[in-house]
Structure formats: structure tokens, C-alpha cells
């Protein structure tokens, strides 16, 4: 809407007076450019403040390196890791583990959620236990998983799949079961059979909720993964952080933490929320 208005204003001015219009046109363009730059920079400001507080606290207290290091030391520690090729190797291990677990979690979660959601009585009965397992986080399962699968890749996969599957099951079920009966009923009167109704009503209708499940599940899975890597090891960001601590390398610990957070921001911003907004935004926030 906005750029359109600006463009219209511009052409209107342009048709009246030539050179004056050129000057006038530059102003709204510049204004939008500044506004746009402001909008992209605004989320960076709190990070800058956090950095200043961190550095300020360090400068004030001057703690030993084993307690806290300043930002520049963390930065150079990260640079070293990159130079050694360790950082991207660890990131790769973590992301691969996450991707595998998430994929299996979705493959289990979506069909199960669907089956539970299609029947009203079943979904009502299933809700409390799903909430229960949602609350018992993946980390809480670690001791048992280690007993069952040992300090192995399987333990890590199992907790990610677990933390992924439950939010996905729960939200998929919710998405399917909250579609009002009149929508499938209306399609039935148009001559639609069950498969058609699933395709035209239940799949798109449950989509926003399924996406919420994905987003929550991947977020929980990411945390569970780090915890799993603390305990199980075998590479990955969690291993990097935990291992650096045992060596007393606080700069690497904090560097690993920062990479963790930034990676998640990227996953969430670039992939999940853009898909969500693209599709849900088009349908409107409210279901009619």
C-alpha cells in the first residue's frame, strides 16, 4: 500500500512541474530508505546494549579469566575455532543431528496428530496425556535414555525425536479438531468425498497449528540436542561448550553459547517464521 501511495504522489507532482518534482521525489525515497534501515537495525540495538553491559561488568569487576572474559576475547576464540575449521564442523554435526531428529519427529507426529484429531472423542481423551508428555521435557528423559541406549548417537536422536514429536502431535491434533464441523459439512453438500475433504479442508485448515507445532518442537529439540551433546558428546556445539569448560576455556564456552543463540535466531527467522507468515498472513489471522 505505502510504496504505491508514494509512487502516485511522485507521478502527480512530476506531471505538474519538472525539476521541482525531481527534488520532491528524492525526499519520500530517502525517508523510506531511512525508515527501512531503522527497522532492520532496531533489533540489533538490544544486542549492542547487552554487549556493553557485558563489557562494562567485566571492566568494573576485572574477574579472572576462569570466571568471565570480555567480548573481544570471545571473538578471537571464535575466530581461532573458525580458522581451525572446528566451528563449522561442530555446527554441521549439531545441525545434522537436529535435522534427522526433526524429520523423524515430523514423520511420527503429523500422522499421529491427524489420526487423533479426526475423532472428537479420541482427541478429547488424548489431550491430558499429551500435555503431560509435553511437560516432561526431553532432558528429563536423558538418564533413562542413557540406560537404554548408552552414550550413543541413538540417545541424542531419541530425545530430539521425543521433544519434536509431542508438540507436533499435540498441535496437529488441535489444528484438526478445532476446524468447525460446518466446513467439512459444506464440502459434503458440494459433493466432496472424504479424501477430498481431507485435502481441501483438513490439510489447509490445520496448517497454521501444525506449523506452530513444528516451531515449538524444533525449538525444544534444539535445547534437548545441546543437553544431549553435553552428556553424550561425539562432537557438536553442546560438546564444544562442555569440553571447553572442562579445559577452563571460558572464551570458547561463551563463544559456543553465542553461536547457539545466533543459529537458532537464523533458523527461526529465516525458515520457520517466514513460511508461517507467508501462508497464514494471506489467510488472515482469524479463521472465518
Amino acid at each position: 500500500m505505502k510504496p504505491d501511495d508514494v509512487a502516485k504522489g511522485r507521478s502527480a507532482v512530476g506531471s505538474e512541474a519538472g525539476t521541482a518534482a525531481l527534488h520532491a521525489a528524492a525526499v519520500p525515497g530517502a525517508v523510506t530508505r531511512v525508515a527501512r534501515a531503522g527497522a532492520t537495525l532496531r533489533p540489533a540495538a538490544p544486542f549492542l546494549i547487552a554487549l556493553i553491559i557485558w563489557w562494562g561488568a567485566w571492566a568494573l569487576l576485572r574477574p579472572p579469566d576462569i570466571i568471565l572474559v570480555p567480548p573481544n576475547k570471545v571473538f578471537s576464540a571464535l575466530l581461532d575455532l573458525v580458522r581451525q575449521g572446528l566451528l563449522d564442523a561442530f555446527i554441521k554435526v549439531s545441525l545434522e543431528r537436529l535435522a534427522r531428529g526433526v524429520l523423524v519427529g515430523i514423520l511420527i507426529g503429523v500422522p499421529v496428530g491427524w489420526l487423533l484429531g479426526l475423532n472428537e472423542d479420541v482427541s478429547r481423551a488424548a489431550e491430558p496425556i499429551l500435555r503431560f508428555f509435553n511437560a516432561v521435557s526431553g532432558i528429563a528423559w536423558l538418564p533413562l535414555m542413557i540406560l537404554w541406549f548408552g552414550f550413543s548417537e541413538r540417545t541424542i536422536s531419541a530425545i530430539i525425536v521425543y521433544t519434536m514429536a509431542f508438540p507436533v502431535i499435540f498441535n496437529t491434533m488441535l489444528g484438526v479438531s478445532t476446524i468447525p464441523n460446518r466446513l467439512p459439512n459444506a464440502c459434503r453438500t458440494l459433493g466432496a468425498g472424504s479424501l477430498r475433504i481431507i485435502k481441501d479442508v483438513y490439510v489447509p485448515g490445520s496448517f497454521p497449528s501444525v506449523m506452530t507445532g513444528f516451531r515449538l518442537g524444533i525449538g525444544y529439540g534444539w535445547r534437548a540436542l545441546i543437553a544431549g551433546e553435553f552428556v553424550v558428546g561425539g562432537g557438536g556445539l553442546g560438546f564444544l561448550i562442555f569440553n571447553a569448560r572442562t579445559q577452563g576455556n571460558i572464551a570458547e564456552v561463551m563463544g559456543g553459547m553465542i553461536v547457539l543463540g545466533l543459529l537458532w535466531l537464523m533458523i527461526d527467522r529465516l525458515i520457520l517464521s517466514s513460511v508461517e507468515q507467508n501462508i497464514i498472513g494471506r489467510w488472515g489471522l482469524m479463521r472465518t
Binding site: P180, R182, L183, N185, A186, C187, R188, T189, L190, G191, A192, R196, D200, V201, P204, G205, F207, R282, W283, G284, L285, M286, R287, T288
Partner: protein, 293 residues
């Protein structure tokens, strides 16, 4: 459509004596258990009704009198406890594309554009793309939706959304259209426009329409016949033929036409007793045009 018609008329010609009504409701009784109040509800009692081809029958009655239950049974969404619904002589036991429904609450799909909502029934029936385009264009014209084809429902006003719902049902070209208080949720001004549009649409397309409302004025304005249902359990209390042809009605005429005004008074009189009876149980019938949504 022409094919279906010619087929229909040949069948009718061969069975001259017993031409079945489009809809026949036979000794219908419906009882169900309400989980909220934990009570058994006798919703409909001994309902008998016949609706002829191209007739527009409106049903009025206090809230909770079983109007919507009756519509759901005709649509095939619920099975009656007792009795039968015959459509062209054949018993109804499930929803079918011969009976389109316009719901009280909006039932168009929010993730489809106006065009794709209207086209939905035709897509399901695997109608050719050009034919879909032609029919959707005709209906967007008839319902005043031109220019909104690519809008999503959330970008439309309440009245426009209901137009989409009406157009979608008409596009699929069912023989019968069941409407459950479709204009209850729009403002009074828009409602009058929609009612007039519906009249011309039904006159032009010759559909058989079963229309539920709790507004007596709406019932008289739209109907060839008005069926008054009693408070629960719903029974047919009166079956009134509206004295003016549907083709010549408009709200302007409505206020000036004595025959129509008298008809409103008659139905109101019939329904008033029921309203007070059901007021005690929370229902109401309104006579004015600006009743609440």
C-alpha cells in the same frame, strides 16, 4: 442443467398421476441427548411438510424450536429418530450435491480466494475449466462480487462473505438449497439488500429453497409459504401462503402492500404465543427488521 431438466420432465411425464414433491417430510420425530444440559431433548414432533419444485418455503419459530435440526436432517447431516425425508421420492440418508446448504455461521474456506470458493463445488464435480470460469463469472455478476475474485474472505465485509457463500452454493447448481438464517449476522441495511438479491436470484434460477429465519418479516418477504413452528418440541403450527407473487416484491413494496402487512400480522399472531412460551426457556422470535444478530 438442461439435461437434468429434460430427464426430470420425461420421468415426470411417464408418472403423471403421482408426481412427487421436491421435498417430502413424513411423520418426522427427532429426540437427542444434550450433553451440556444432560437432558433428553425432543426437538421435532410429527413434522409433515411438502415442498414443490421452485418453491421458496420459509420456516419461522422461536429459538430452540428445532428449525436448524430440521434443516440438518434434510441436508443429511443427522439421521432422524423417526420418519423420513424424501427428495424427489427418494429417501435421504446422507449429504448430497442435490442439496446445497448456506450456513448461519460462515462456512466458506478462509484459505481460498472468492473465485476459488465459488468454484469449489464445480472443481469437486470435475467440471471443465472454461465452464467453471463461465459459471463463476455469471454468479459473481448475479451476487455483486465482480472485482473481488482474488480477495480472501478476511478481506471482505460480513455481507460480502455471505454473498460468497450464496454464490458458492448456487454455482454447484443443486436442485434444492437449504438456508439457515444466512443473513442473521449482517447489519440491517445490508440484510435488506441481500434479501432482495436472494429473491431475484431464486426467481431467475428457479431453485427450490428451504429458508430458516427467526424474523417474521423476513419469512413473509422471502417466502411463497411460511411455516410456523411451535416451541419445543417443534411441530408445524401453521402453513401460510403469502398472497403476493415473489417476483414483484421489494422492501419498498413490502411497507406499502396491505396484503403483505396483513400476512406479517397473521404470522406474528401465530408465533407470539410460542415466543412467550419459549422466552421462559430463553428463546425469542423477533418481528422487527433490525433484530439482533
Amino acid at each position: 442443467m438442461t439435461q437434468a431438466n429434460s430427464n426430470g420432465s420425461t420421468i415426470r411425464a411417464s408418472t403423471v398421476e403421482s408426481e412427487p414433491p421436491t421435498i417430502a417430510i413424513k411423520s418426522l420425530n427427532h429426540v437427542y441427548f444434550d450433553y451440556q444440559s444432560k437432558k433428553t431433548v425432543h426437538a421435532l414432533k410429527d413434522v409433515e411438510l411438502e415442498i414443490q419444485p421452485s418453491e421458496l418455503v420459509t420456516v419461522v419459530g422461536p429459538s430452540g424450536c428445532g428449525k436448524t435440526t430440521l434443516l440438518n436432517i434434510i441436508a443429511g447431516f443427522i439421521k432422524p429418530t423417526e420418519g423420513q425425508i424424501l427428495v424427489n421420492g427418494r429417501p435421504v440418508n446422507k449429504p448430497g450435491k442435490d442439496r446445497g446448504v448456506v450456513f448461519q455461521e460462515l462456512a466458506i474456506l478462509p484459505w481460498r480466494t472468492v473465485y476459488r470458493n465459488i468454484a469449489h463445488g464445480l472443481e469437486i464435480q470435475k467440471v471443465a475449466k472454461e465452464e467453471i470460469e463461465r459459471r463463476v463469472r455469471r454468479l459473481t455478476e448475479l451476487t455483486g462480487l465482480e472485482g473481488f475474485e482474488n480477495h480472501y474472505p478476511h478481506q471482505l465485509s460480513g455481507g460480502m462473505k455471505q454473498r460468497v457463500a450464496v454464490a458458492r452454493t448456487w454455482a454447484a447448481d443443486p436442485e434444492i438449497i437449504l438456508m439457515d438464517e444466512p443473513f442473521a449476522a449482517v447489519d440491517a441495511m445490508t440484510r435488506q439488500t441481500l434479501q432482495e438479491e436472494l429473491l431475484s436470484l431464486t426467481v431467475r434460477t428457479g431453485k427450490t429453497v428451504f429458508f430458516i429465519t427467526h424474523s417474521v418479516e423476513e419469512a413473509v418477504f422471502l417466502g411463497d409459504r411460511v411455516i410456523a413452528l411451535s416451541a419445543r418440541p417443534g411441530r408445524v403450527k401453521a402453513d401460510i401462503t403469502v398472497p403476493v407473487s415473489r417476483a414483484n416484491r421489494s422492501w419498498r413494496e413490502m411497507s406499502k402492500n396491505d396484503a403483505l402487512q396483513e400476512c406479517v400480522e397473521d404470522v406474528l399472531e401465530l408465533v407470539r404465543g410460542e415466543a412467550t412460551a419459549s422466552d421462559r426457556s430463553g428463546g425469542a422470535v423477533s418481528a422487527d427488521r433490525t433484530h439482533e444478530a
